[in-house]
């Protein structure tokens, strides 16, 4: 039997990351339509359609969430966690620069570790308090890194990919880490074996 499994990452994005009141129903609708499309066309076409729906859903849900009370609460949680993250990072940076490794080169190596760890912790805390808050927190991390890059606060000369790593891996750590720690469970029961059965 051909396995009709919708893209797991897109499932996770829709059900676990995006704000909204009915993520489970929304993902169920997408899986139902995906199964029909995979049978009538091909699995590749259906997967492409699934991905386009998942990606186009992001701005709609984030914008809608920003406009209502739920979004306000999620944003407040994200801001609170962001402040705590900032304090954590400041403390870690200070400890590294003053105690552990006063040399600049060692700091350049350790800074991404501190940044990613702080982002991961922040993501887990935000997801634990409120599911939709991780998306807002990730957005805030992107904006912060972009602003810091634009202001050129880093006096040490670093290659472009080093800064690009901060810009991409930081928000990813915020979003993905809660899943890795079992906080978000979107991929569970996501695989469908065709009509009428669920893959184990």
């Amino acid at each position: 039997m051909r396995r009709n499994s919708p893209p797991a990452f897109a499932c996770w994005l829709v059900e676990s990351v995006l704000p909204g009141r009915y993520p489970e129903a929304m993902l169920g609708d997408l899986i139902e339509e995906y199964t029909l499309r995979a049978e009538s066309t091909s699995r590749l076409t259906a997967s492409r359609w699934f991905w386009s729906q998942a990606c186009r859903t992001v701005p709609s849900m984030v914008w809608s969430s920003l406009r209502n009370r739920d979004g306000l609460i999620s944003t407040s949680v994200a801001i609170g966690v962001y402040i705590v993250m900032g304090m954590l990072k400041f403390a870690a940076d200070w400890t590294i620069s003053k105690v552990v490794a006063p040399e600049q080169t060692t700091y350049v190596v350790l800074a991404p570790v501190v940044f990613l760890t702080t982002s991961a912790i922040g993501g887990c805390v935000a997801a634990r308090i409120r599911r939709g808050a991780t998306m807002f927190l990730a957005l805030m991390v992107v904006i912060t890194v972009a602003v810091l890059m634009e202001l050129q606060v880093c006096t040490i000369p670093v290659p472009w990919w080093y800064q690009f790593g901060f810009l991409t891996l930081g928000p990813l750590a915020v979003i993905i880490t809660p899943t890795l720690f079992g906080r978000l469970k979107a991929t569970r029961n996501c695989h469908v074996n065709g009509p009428g059965t669920i893959a184990d």
């Binding site: 919708p6 829709v14 995006l18 909204g20 009141r21 009915y22 489970e24 129903a25 929304m26 993902l27 169920g28 609708d29 997408l30 899986i31 139902e32 339509e33 199964t35 729906q53 186009r56 859903t57 992001v58 701005p59 709609s60 849900m61 914008w63 809608s64 406009r67 209502n68 029961n189 996501c190 695989h191 469908v192 009509p195 009428g196 059965t197 669920i198």
Partner: protein
């Protein structure tokens, strides 16, 4: 009732909460057509078939949530089914307030477009 008086009546009736956005209007109409409750994907499909607009499921749910908050639609959870990966449907239906908002929007549109047909002929 004269035409200006009718317009005044409509404007008075439509307080801020009753103003429908274009997507809200279309989704309410789709739900009204699918009488008896429908889930998001059916609404999306109905709009696509009738208007050719390929809207995302996220836009449909975001609008449905907004309409529910306004009291224009209500929703209930259906039974989880295997073809949906064990996930339950959320069935939406239009409430009386939603039907009233639709009527007012339709009346307003009719009033605003009255007499414009001759101007549109050349377009």
């Amino acid at each position: 009732m004269t035409f200006p008086a009718y317009l005044f009546y409509i404007a008075k009736q439509m307080n801020r909460g009753e103003l429908l956005g274009s997507l809200e209007h279309i989704i309410l109409l789709a739900l009204a057509r699918l009488d008896g409750g429908a889930h998001g994907m059916i609404v999306r499909r109905e709009i696509e078939e009738r208007t050719g607009r390929n809207i995302s499921i996220g836009a449909v749910y975001a609008t449905l949530e907004r309409l529910e908050a306004k009291g224009y639609v209500s929703s209930v959870t259906g039974e989880p089914t295997p073809e949906r990966g064990g996930r339950a449907k959320r069935l939406f239906r239009v409430e009386a307030a939603g039907k009233r908002a639709l009527q007012i929007s339709e009346q307003t549109l009719r009033c605003m477009t009255a007499g414009l047909e001759s101007r549109w002929e050349g377009i």
